[in-house]
């Protein structure tokens, strides 16, 4: 009997200690916690690390501090899977008590996390996922996007294909998930608006290793179509481009892609297969501005590899957040003020001038780029530029 009471007492002491010790020591001058979600496994793994490297580069440039407060960067792997992203987001918000949630590459993950973030009233700064609805039908004062919307550059690309490349018929191939369909829709919209025709749309599943069955279909269209539009991300893009060449399509049916396909992250694995391929992009490493040259130099110095659009995405995303924090003198707890400040941030990013539109999605210039070889290295160079593209951009006919 005594033993039972002893047990109860010890257990209660332990639990109470755990419980109240768990309450946290939330006081002033506590660090600003930025929770960060990205995939480090799977199709987007390389993109995930690029994004984080860019983000951290900026944080380091400012010494990990803003207005005298430390910035704490808490990083979690969402594996590119919506269910995992949701679980990790909960962990960041509830266990780590982050002030801001940032990152996210996969649109699927972004959609899954959206309701939760709004319910918990956490500022959500998306530094990559283009999930269109999040800054359109499903927008919220808490959701910001510093990267692009799935359809933004694609709208410009569709127009460019018709107006400047002279394409009239296009066949489309994209990854079968939210982003693939949304980007395809963007390209299709302006291309058809200008009078072009989409001959067929094929969407292989995300994570397809073997594009053979689909590429064989494309072979039928050689000579009947002007261009292949393609969007694949991460490792899918590497395989796609390589196999595109293997099946002899590269010369016979030119590609015009979304930037993810021939991003700097992929070029070392694609090499010859990507040479000469043109794409439209929010960021081009070859862009000749002072800020970009400085950024590329610093990035190469620190990380020993070339920054791609994800790297710039992370960097610019971090800068948006920090500029807003500076404007409110680090008082992230005053959420209203922080959100207001964030809305009005504008600066010169490596990709050019950036700012938010009314729905809190970023506006930027769109590049047309091509893969070139110089001194044995493959990089994108600028071919053309379309200024001030926002998520609702339409060409003037």
């Amino acid at each position: 009997m005594m033993r039972k009471w002893l047990f109860v007492m010890i257990l209660s002491m332990f639990l109470i200690g755990l419980a109240f010790g768990n309450r946290g020591t939330a006081e002033a001058a506590e660090p600003i916690k930025i929770g960060y979600l990205a995939p480090y496994v799977g199709v987007f793994a390389k993109f995930g690390s690029d994004l984080r490297d860019g983000f951290k580069l900026y944080l380091e440039e400012i010494g990990n501090k803003v207005a005298g407060r430390q910035i704490l960067f808490i990083d979690e792997d969402d594996e590119g899977k919506p269910e995992v992203g949701l679980v990790k987001a909960k962990k960041l918000v509830e266990k780590d008590q982050v002030h801001i949630l940032a990152g996210i590459i996969s649109s699927g993950v972004a959609y899954a996390v959206r309701d939760y973030v709004i319910e918990k009233k956490i500022p959500f700064v998306i530094t990559n996922a283009g999930a269109t609805k999040l800054t359109q039908e499903q927008r919220s004062p808490f959701i910001f996007r510093t990267s692009f919307a799935n359809c933004q550059q694609d709208l410009a690309g569709g127009w460019y294909a018709y107006a400047k490349m002279g394409a009239r018929k296009v066949i489309m191939m994209g990854s079968d998930y939210a982003a693939g369909h949304e980007k395809g829709a963007g390209f299709k919209k302006t291309f058809k608006f200008m009078g072009g025709e989409i001959v067929e749309e094929i969407y292989p599943p995300l994570g397809t290793n073997d594009f053979a069955p689909y590429l064989a279909k494309l072979a039928n269209y050689v000579g009947k179509v002007d261009r292949t539009w393609a969007f694949f991300a991460g490792s899918d893009a590497i395989r796609f481009v390589n196999q595109y060449q293997e099946y002899g399509l590269k010369e016979k049916l030119k590609l015009f892609c979304e930037e993810g396909v021939t991003d700097e992250a992929n070029l070392p694995s694609q090499k010859e297969a990507a040479l000469g391929v043109e794409s439209y992009a929010r960021y081009c490493i070859g862009y000749d501005s002072t800020e970009n040259k400085r950024f590329v130099r610093e990035y190469r110095k620190k990380y020993n590899y070339d920054p791609g659009s994800l790297s710039e995405g992370g960097y610019t995303g971090a800068k948006f957040i920090v500029k807003a924090l500076e404007a409110v003198k680090g008082k992230i707890e005053n959420q209203e003020a922080f959100l207001k400040a964030l809305r009005s941030v504008k600066f010169e990013a490596p990709r050019g001038p950036v700012r938010f539109d009314e729905h809190q999605n970023v506006i930027f210039n769109t590049f047309i780029q091509r893969v070139a070889k110089k001194d044995g290295k493959y990089n994108n160079i600028v071919v053309d530029m379309i200024p001030d593209v926002d998520q609702y951009w339409m060409p003037k006919k």
Binding site: V41, P204, Y214
Partner: protein, 286 residues
């Protein structure tokens, strides 16, 4: 016309790689009644090890030998040190293999990272050849060749050698085999090692076009599962035909009905399950 040729060849190359993985799986299941969930892990491990050796030596054959040895050792260790303790306890064995899946997967993630990679092809087969007016990668023809050679080799092994006869007997009736005085544990270890070897070779062969990445272990397992259910458990012939069926169906399914590609894989399996649960060439239970 060229379209059909290419698709058929594509399907065949995929089938051959599948066969390598499924053959080992079906033998292990047929003889030891173990659902080796870790079978895909053999593929994974072999492809990664092969990749590292390949990067160091640029010799595909050497890489294949190295990764095969590694995987066989792992397989033998799994069977002789762990699985045999649960002899006749199928559920425990299955769960044990699942544990291995997690360990191997995490180990590979830790060593090689999360980024999907593709093995470079052997230098001999880097180019593409002309078929009609279409181009086809020569490597895939190589895969078909390898698959057929190994299939023939396995057939000879099963039909003409003593060990093969023992395995066939064991799949048919294990109790009799034990009764005949043969060291059953050695047989088990041998078959498990053989299964691992086949899956390992599959990993090297498939590496260049399927690639290697976290998760490929489970995708390979799933495909092997479908092949074995359709083709029949314990039967190499079933595994071969099942692989042909699955590989070609998957390929044509993707090409002709991209929306339904996974469905074209599972529907036949469900049908076979409904009509003949042990598969087309499997043994009738009890």
């Amino acid at each position: 016309m060229a379209f059909w040729i290419i698709q058929t060849l594509n399907g065949l190359s995929f089938s051959m790689m599948l066969f390598l993985v499924a053959a080992g799986f079906t033998l292990i299941f047929g003889l030891m009644k173990i659902i080796n969930i870790a079978h895909g892990s053999f593929y994974l491990l072999s492809a990664y090890i092969g990749l590292t050796v390949l990067r160091a030596t640029e010799n595909f054959l050497l890489a294949t030998i190295a990764s095969s040895i590694a995987v066989v050792l792992v397989g033998i260790a799994m069977q002789s040190l762990f699985l045999r303790r649960f002899y006749m306890k199928e559920l425990q064995q299955v769960l044990l293999t699942f544990g291995f899946v997690l360990i191997i997967a995490d180990l590979c993630l830790w060593i090689w990272g999360g980024n999907p990679m593709a093995l470079p092809k052997p230098s001999l087969f880097r180019g593409s050849i002309w078929i009609g007016n279409v181009v086809f990668p020569s490597y895939r023809l190589f895969v078909i060749l390898v698959g057929v050679i190994i299939a023939v080799g396995l057939w000879i092994f099963q039909e003409k050698t003593k060990f093969g006869a023992i395995v066939r007997a064991g799949v048919d009736d294990e109790e009799m085999l034990r009764g005949s005085g043969i060291n059953i544990q050695m047989v088990f270890v041998g078959v498990f090692g053989l299964g691992a070897l086949l899956a390992g070779i599959g990993g090297m062969i498939g590496g260049p076009f399927v690639g290697v990445f976290p998760g490929v272990d489970m995708s390979m397992l799933l495909l092997a599962l479908v092949v074995v259910i359709i083709g029949g458990v314990g039967s190499l012939k079933g595994a071969f035909l099942g692989s042909l069926f699955v590989g070609l169906t998957d390929n044509f399914g993707k090409a002709l009905f991209p929306e339904l590609s996974l469905f074209t894989l599972f529907a036949p399996m469900a049908i076979v399950l409904a009509i003949r649960p042990t598969g087309i060439f499997g043994k009738i239970e009890e």
